[in-house]
Subunit: 181 residues, 2 copies
Amino acid sequence: MARPPTARAKALSAFTQILVTSGERAATLDAVAKAAGISKGGLLYHFGSKEELNEGLVAHLRELIRADIERMNTDPEGAVAYLLRTSAAFESDFENVYIAVAALAQSGDTQAAEVLQEADDAWFKSVATEVKDDAVARAVVLLSDGIYAHAAVQRGPTGHDVDELQELIKQLLATRKQQEQ
Amino acid sequence: MARPPTARAKALSAFTQILVTSGERAATLDAVAKAAGISKGGLLYHFGSKEELNEGLVAHLRELIRADIERMNTDPEGAVAYLLRTSAAFESDFENVYIAVAALAQSGDTQAAEVLQEADDAWFKSVATEVKDDAVARAVVLLSDGIYAHAAVQRGPTGHDVDELQELIKQLLATRKQQEQ
DNA sequence: GTCTATACCCAGATAGAC
DNA sequence: GTCTATCTGGGTATAGAC
């Protein structure tokens, strides 16, 4: 798992790309192998079956979530800004893999559905720690999910105005803090 | 189109149910026919191909959107309340068909993706008319999309606290109205 | 209008050479 | 570790009876 042979990584990358741009139906072993520049046999050497390929991508996302949370917690603008910004802008691999796994989840893969929930839970935790308002944190994660859902359907980054959303969140937090006192 | 023979309606209903509960992969002609209590041949009489079946569901959603917008615009609690409430609670057929079409969209169906965008646009229009604040309207639709995305992945209604969200929106609108003056 | 039977095709998986 | 060739199963579609 630590330093995977390049063919394996290329396969995962190609699989991701096809899932994002063409959907789950198009992501056949043939298509993945071709896009990765290897043969179907070679692909099946690294992933013994289609299910293992799915699991491989799910496991990959699980790793990326850890790294994403790390970046989120250390972002100079804060967790809310990071989450909304990356949802809309595809700053790293993470966003593509997330969308790809979402496609798997909708096609019937239950492990894919589970890891998406894990991402949401981790996001909520980070955001809640920052804003100290669980209701707002839930809303922020929901907004992020909405942006991702859009990207998944439109097959690419969305034009959502993140600054506008951040401003709304800021205003909301200020209002609620005031009322609390 | 006006008074479809029951077999057609049953097929569409079964197709919807399988898509929602088991994903696109499971929604084969065999499975749909069986769930609808008809034979594959009978199913193919009403829908000449799998693609036509997809199109049939997309067209059905397009009709339901009109009815949904109608209910939204006349809801005693208002459009925002209606949208958030129905996203989380599956009040009518609409929500199930919406999730089903979302599954088609993720699997690669472009017409399905288009009609989902139409729904979002129509929702935005209704909400924006009510709240008279485009930024907030966009956020509300995004929240709704987030809730739907959750439901799609979890394969059923979500436990999101709609009252909590509505309260947030209310506070936000009040704050922004005040600042405007 | 709905059925059964069957043909066709392609995605997934296996075998074995290199 | 990667290839080509081949087999199998199942999903889609057609033919034709009732």
